[in-house]
């Protein structure tokens, strides 16, 4: 059965989630409340500002970043060390939620909401359904050989190290100071003009994928295809 340490880790999970979800809601609420200006049509559209606007000095931002970034990372590592797929899915939920908060921090409010709705509400549920449907017991676990685990960890750590080196040594131009968050109106306009084609293509893609997934997943009435 489960080792002691793992039990401990598993207990962290609800803690983590209980931390994440209210924070998400809180941040979303703050943002909504602050960003909405009752401006009339004349000057444009409802204006949402990112959190960073409201946080001067950046200390609060830093704290929030470390909390939620830490959550994301911890949950990601949790995914790595979990042996059971349902746990992995739960940890993934932590990551997704944390990332959503980071979006709010970055001033991408709409995206944060999307992340919560589509990812946490859709994709993850899909995965969990997959887990449920494909295992006799939801706690099914397949052990990976220890040797492979070691190799994979070494490779991953090396990958992280080299990536970090690459990212740090890169010369990023000076940060632009004028960023003031993206207005949702602008976002929507871009989506339906410049990105109209990808938008339409994505919708066709979803249609096709839906049909494909439905076909593959459904039980055929009288399935008698021979192997050809």
């Amino acid at each position: 059965m489960v080792s002691k340490g793992r039990t401990k880790l598993n207990r962290l999970l609800p803690t983590c989630l209980s931390l994440v979800l209210p924070a998400v809601l809180m941040c979303g609420g703050i943002t909504m409340a602050q960003g909405t200006t009752p401006d009339a049509m004349g000057s444009g559209v409802p204006h949402f500002d990112g959190v960073q606007k409201s946080v001067s000095g950046g200390i609060v931002e830093a704290i929030l970043f470390y909390i939620f970034g830490g959550t994301v990372l911890a949950a990601a590592i949790g995914v790595c060390v979990s042996k059971r797929v349902v746990r992995m899915a739960t940890w993934l939920f932590g990551t997704l939620g944390g990332v959503a908060v980071l979006y709010f921090l970055l001033g991408a409010n709409y995206l944060g909401v999307i992340q919560l709705i589509v990812y946490a509400g859709g994709t993850l549920i899909l995965l969990v359904f997959g887990v449920m449907l494909t295992s006799k017991s939801p706690w099914v676990r397949f052990e990976c050989p220890r040797g492979e685990m070691v190799v994979a960890s070494v490779v991953s750590i090396l990958l992280f190290a080299s990536l970090t080196t690459v990212l740090v040594t890169a010369e990023w131009p000076a940060q632009s100071q004028s960023a003031d968050g993206v207005r949702i109106a602008e976002f929507g306009k871009e989506l339906l003009t410049t990105y109209l084609v990808p938008f339409e293509v994505a919708s066709v893609m979803l249609l096709v994928v839906m049909i494909a997934a439905a076909y593959l997943a459904r039980q055929d009435r009288d399935d008698s295809e021979g192997a050809n």
Partner: protein, 859 residues
């Protein structure tokens, strides 16, 4: 488009008739039935031969017409120029047009005739041969298939000969190789035949790889595939400093700076690689003896008379693209081949293999001749060799057939009584290849003229090369009369008019500026000299030639004089820049000339004379008319070929096919220079001298062979014991097969093993990454030890490849996670490497036209 001459139509028809026969046999072969299919092929080839004969006769007449007063060309020259305009525009590669056309010149005509003539007789022989042989392969009759392949071979070989375009020449070249493959492996249900076929095919591919490389260089640097155009462009670039082949030009190839001249040499060697494969020259000679596994008519037709000679033909055609260094390379290869293969032939006991090695040696002579510049002589040797070697092979086929498929000469003997026609014709062949002739009497057979001429030129290159050229040295003509074999060459009338060739040059300047016309001019200008080649021969016996000045006489005309002196000047200056032939090469060739008659006589004696050594074989021996008639025909034509038309026609071809600016030591040049100035007489002095030196070789060698083998084989065996290791070496053919086996097969396996070891250790680093991989490797190592039985592929090269194949597939474990890890690890490695190499400078080449713009654009 000039009007298409009859010759072109004849030649093209001659090519297409065998193709038609091929299609008929392919489609309706089984229905046509057993003897008819064979005779249909014979009929097709005979009609081609008839067309070829008509062409030959007509062309010969046209060559000898007096030059037109306006254009200054003979009819033949005019036709040749016209033919170069009559090209079908096939395609463009980029801006370079690819045109198909008939290359109409003496060489084509004469080769065409030779191929059709020999093929006709061999096809007749084949009908007889196949009636005595099983035509069943895998339990079904493949009679029609045999003739089907033969027809296809006829088509491709003839197409190769008339092609005016290197690309087409190459395509048909491949087709010829394919036919060879199919025919060697005709009895493909027999393992050795199928192996031999594969071996031939693959060895040829190795050569063709070089050929393709050469072709690409031709295309890149000369921007044309047309033989004439390429030669002109090459000459232009090489002479002037405006091209790739200028010495100042250099490109960077694999880190070396390669100068233009080296590139040119590489191009020549690349092209020659193709010839090395087809003509089975030194490192690639291994396939030809094995190819004797095919039916005997195939050996005669393809592997003795025509296809293997195609390599020599190719060298003749690309001669103008060869730099002196490339020529030297060719000479070395030829020299090694002719010596080494002749030595092997001495110990062979299989009659066909003995002939095969003899063929190799003779091909070596031809290639050697090409390399030392004996263009005319080498081609002459090719022609004669085709006749007598085809005859010898057919004779051996007759013997084998008669002796109940016995090929070992040690079991034969005394067959003269049973098969006299074969014995006699075989003897004629033996005499011809041995260079039988009587010095100073112009009486001789085949090799006496051609091989000796090659040797003479080699001697000249080796000994007389840097001697100063004497102007006006008509004293040299003392030998004109004594120049024995010239009388043997041909009818005088042929030469008298050929002398007029020189006149073309004079009219060069007033010729139309049309590209190809002037191109022809350029070619003939560059060897106006060769026009004199024939002029010389003329002076040799028609005696109308030489006054004191030695040139500028009425025969050659003013123009001939001018270009003659010009040629002389260039010859003199160029000669100085080219090293003489190393003396050992000449001596090797000379000594081998003594070996040749020995092994041929041995072969003949063991087979036909002495006492019957195997009574069973002897009892069975018989002759069939369908088979000896071609023998007699070929024997007669061997006589004819030695004396008539051929030599002058080749000499005529030399005028159009060689290029004096590059081609030095070319016997044509040498002879003409002699005519023009009276210099370079040593060639003929040499020949004179060689007539004693080599001319008697056959006597000595025959005598030795007679002494040894008169008493049967005992002495031979004793001799072999005396020479112990040497004989073993020769019997193992210098261990070449073993070497290739070692280098290629074992080498590949070793490389595979090293890779495997490396991989194993790398995988070990990924400890337990996948038990299945390790297991797989273990299985694989076990498998690597036992030799794979290969589907009839070159001795096991395939096995090695299969090992590599296993190795390559082994990561394909079928497991997704492993794939991911492989990819991730690869990414890490790449990033690490990048980190390591970061900061390496990038080459910057400013684009000339945009420097201004860019300096404004980039801040």
């Amino acid at each position: 488009m000039a009007e298409i001459s009859n010759y072109e139509i004849y030649l093209m028809a001659g090519v297409l008739i065998p193709l038609a026969s091929f299609f008929i046999l392919m489609l309706f072969g089984p229905r046509i039935g057993k003897p008819v299919a064979g005779w249909l092929t014979v009929l097709a080839m005979a009609s081609s031969c008839a067309l070829a004969t008509i062409t030959l006769v007509g062309w010969h007449a046209d060559v000898n017409t007096p030059p037109d007063s306006i254009t200054g060309r003979t009819v033949a020259q005019q036709l040749s120029i016209d033919a170069s305009h009559n090209q079908f525009h096939w395609a463009d590669i980029g801006s370079v047009p690819i045109k198909i056309g008939v290359k109409l010149d003496s060489l084509t005509v004469i080769m065409f005739f030779m191929v059709t003539f020999i093929a006709t007789w061999i096809f007749i022989f084949s009908v007889g041969y196949m009636s005595g042989h099983s035509d069943e392969v895998d339990g079904k009759s493949k009679y029609h298939r045999f003739f089907c392949y033969l027809s296809l071979f006829g088509f491709s070989m003839l197409g190769l000969v008339i092609s005016s375009n290197l690309l087409f020449l190459f395509m048909l070249w491949e087709l010829v190789g394919l036919c060879s493959y199919l025919l060697i492996g005709f009895y493909f249900d027999k393992k050795f035949a199928s192996n031999a076929a594969m071996k031939a095919f693959i060895t040829n591919r190795v050569g063709d790889f070089g050929f393709i490389f050469g072709l690409m260089m031709v295309f890149f640097f000369l921007k044309t595939f047309d033989l004439d155009q390429a030669a002109i462009e090459f000459g232009r670039q090489f002479a002037s400093s405006t091209g790739v082949f200028d010495a100042g030009f250099a490109i960077n190839l694999f880190g070396w700076h390669v100068s233009g001249a080296m590139l040119a040499t590489m191009m020549g060697i690349g092209l020659f690689c193709g010839a090395m494969g087809k003509s089975a020259q030194f490192p690639l000679q291994v396939w030809l003896p094995d190819a004797m596994a095919g039916p005997t008519p195939v050996s005669a037709l393809i592997h003795a008379a025509t296809m293997v000679a195609a390599g020599v033909y190719l060298v003749a055609r690309i001669f103008r693209l060869l730099t002196p260094e490339a020529q030297f390379f060719i000479a070395v290869i030829g020299c090694i081949t002719l010596t080494a293969m002749a030595l092997i032939a001495m110990v062979q006991t299989d009659i066909k293999k003995c002939l095969a090695y003899s063929t190799l040696s003779q091909l070596g002579y031809m290639i050697f001749g090409m390399g030392v510049g004996a263009w005319t002589a080498a081609l002459f040797h090719l022609m004669l060799h085709a006749f007598f070697k085809a005859m010898l092979f057919l004779g051996s086929g007759q013997v084998i057939e008669g002796c109940h498929h016995e090929q070992d000469m040690r079991k034969m003997g005394g067959l003269m009584k049973k098969m006299p026609m074969t014995g006699i014709t075989f003897l004629v062949g033996v005499l011809a290849i041995s260079g039988f002739g009587i010095p100073l009497m112009n009486v001789g057979l085949g090799g006496y003229f051609s091989k000796d001429e090659i040797l003479a030129v080699a001697w000249d290159r080796a000994y007389m090369w840097h001697e100063p050229i004497e102007h006006h040295g008509d004293s040299g003509h003392g030998d004109a009369g004594g120049h024995g074999d010239s009388g043997g060459y041909a009818d005088a009338s042929g030469h008298a008019d050929l002398g007029g060739y020189g006149e073309i040059d004079s009219h060069g300047s007033v010729m139309p500026s049309d590209a190809s016309a002037s191109s022809f001019m350029l070619v003939s200008d560059q060897h106006g000299s060769t026009g004199h080649d024939t002029g010389h021969a003329d002076s040799g016996h028609a005696d109308s030639g030489h006054d004191d000045s030695g040139h500028g006489d009425s025969l050659h005309g003013e123009a001939g004089h001018a270009s003659g002196s010009h040629a002389l000047g260039s010859v003199e200056s160029l000669k100085a820049s080219i090293p003489p032939l190393p003396k050992w090469m000449f001596w090797l060739a000379l000594i081998t000339a003594y070996v040749t008659p020995f092994y041929m006589m041995r072969c003949w004696w063991m087979t036909f004379m002495g006492k019957p050594r195997d009574q069973h074989v002897y009892d069975h021996a018989h002759e069939s008319p369908l088979m000896w008639v071609p023998l007699v025909a070929l024997a007669i034509s061997t006589f004819g070929a030695s004396y008539f038309v051929f030599r002058p026609m080749i000499a005529d071809a030399a005028g159009a096919a060689t290029d004096a600016t590059l081609v030095l030591g070319l016997d044509g040049v040498a002879e003409s220079a002699e005519t023009a100035s009276g210099a370079l007489i040593h060639v003929h002095e040499a020949h004179h001298w060689l007539a004693y030196g080599v001319g008697g070789s056959w006597v000595i060698a025959f005598f030795v062979a007679f002494l040894i083998y008169r008493n049967g084989l005992a002495t031979g065996a004793k001799l072999k014991a005396a020479f112990g290791p040497l004989a073993t070496l020769l019997e193992h053919k210098y261990y070449f097969d073993e070497l290739y086996d070692f280098l290629l097969v074992r080498g590949c396996r070793l490389a595979a093993a090293v890779c495997r070891a490396f991989d194993t250790y790398v995988i070990d680093l990924f400890a337990n990454l996948s038990a299945s991989i390790v297991e797989r490797f273990a299985v694989f190592s076990g498998r690597g030890v036992d030799a794979h039985v290969v589907d009839g592929v070159f001795n096991g090269l395939a096995a090695a490849s299969m090992d590599v194949s296993d190795l390559v597939r082994s990561p394909q474990t079928g497991r997704i996670r492993n794939y991911v890890l492989f990819a991730a690890a690869a990414a890490v490695v790449v990033v690490m490497v990048m980190l390591y190499f970061d900061g390496s400078d990038y080459p910057v080449v400013r684009h000339a036209s945009t420097i201004g713009a860019s300096s404004a654009g980039i801040q």
